[in-house]
């Protein structure tokens, strides 16, 4: 990869990683309320 792509890739995962994990955690936290 080019230097630009390497940096872009790294920053993307720094943003996307916590977003995905936060979404997952929230979906589990609110799980009990959703189920019958």
């Amino acid at each position: 990869m080019t230097r630009l792509h390497r940096r872009w890739h790294l920053w993307l995962w720094f943003v996307l990683g916590p977003l995905i994990l936060t979404g997952l955690i929230l979906s589990v936290v609110f799980r009990s309320e959703a189920l019958p």
């Binding site: 990869m1 080019t2 230097r3 792509h5 994990l21 979906s27």
Partner: protein, 385 residues
Amino acid sequence: MSVIYSAVKWNRYRRIYDLVLLAGIGLYLVLFFVVAKVVWPGSHAIANRVLLIRALGTCALLLLQLVLCIGPLARFDRRFLTLLQNRRHLGVITFCVALAHAVLAFGYYYGFHLRNPLVVLLTSNTNYGSWNAFPFQVLGLGTLVILFLLAATSHDFWQKNLSPSVWKSLHMLVYLAYGLLVMHVALGTHQADASLTYPIVLGVGAVTIISLHLAAGLREYVRDALGSSAVSNITKEAWIDVGSVDEIPNRQAKIVCLPGRERIAVFQYDRQISAVSNVCAHQRGPLGEGQIIDGCITCPWHGWQYRPQDGKSPPPFTEKIATYRVRVVNRHILLNPEPLPPGTAIEPARFESETSAEVTSNRRESPLAARENNRRSCSRVFWHH
């Protein structure tokens, strides 16, 4: 490489790869059914069509997770390069499985509406502010659209016409697709299934993928930073000592990192030294981690080739990469960091064979070990007046 565009460049190895993959998918679907029948017997049994929808959906999720792991794993261990070289097939098959899941789910849940099922899907549930009733189907649709875009452009024709840079940027949308898919599954199961199986599978997969990508990205960042810290204020006329010719095994390269510049691959072959850009013109693969085969630098990712003397692919191919001026003084390689226009012919720097033979006999390091060392540490470079 091929002079003409073909949908799939078949060879025996790829046929075996695809057959194993398809057999694995078939086995997974059968196992899913068997386990589901055992876990939910009798009156708790789930309809076969729903089971198939779930089996295909989870299969697509696992395949996408596998696709996303291959890139960083190949950065850490060369044995995964084989999977990387066939990643396109895996990506297209992932899309096909996801499409089968979507078609079945679409028909099952929306097929009996009088209105257009797609309109129903997009308009029947607008609880975007609710965790409990979020329209997770829209996230799945978004994933499918991205996967379709990637599968449709997984072809050298598109790569050539979009340019490698645009193509690579486009295909980085796979990370967004993964994020959407995780939330599609998390919110979908959240509304229908009390067990924690799905959240656990999703969590383990997400942590693995995120960790691998961050670790691989940070490793490359450190390599760039280490190389950059060794030199500063590079001028066009500078000659930089990038190390001894004895450091580079025959027909292999040393990768040089310079501040604010692309990496350079310095190849040693038959007592000659040539330097070219480390970036392959195809998919930006690291040429310096490849080797010289049949007189050509061969990219470790997909086997694209370039002549070390001029950075041109051998005829009839037309790809070119930048070359660099090099010379050898007292068995030290001096490199001019200014890239020459792609395809510029440069006479290789030659050195005496005497020590080369000595090096061959003294160095106990295998070519593979040498390549691994090259990957682990970016070369330290020093000024030469």
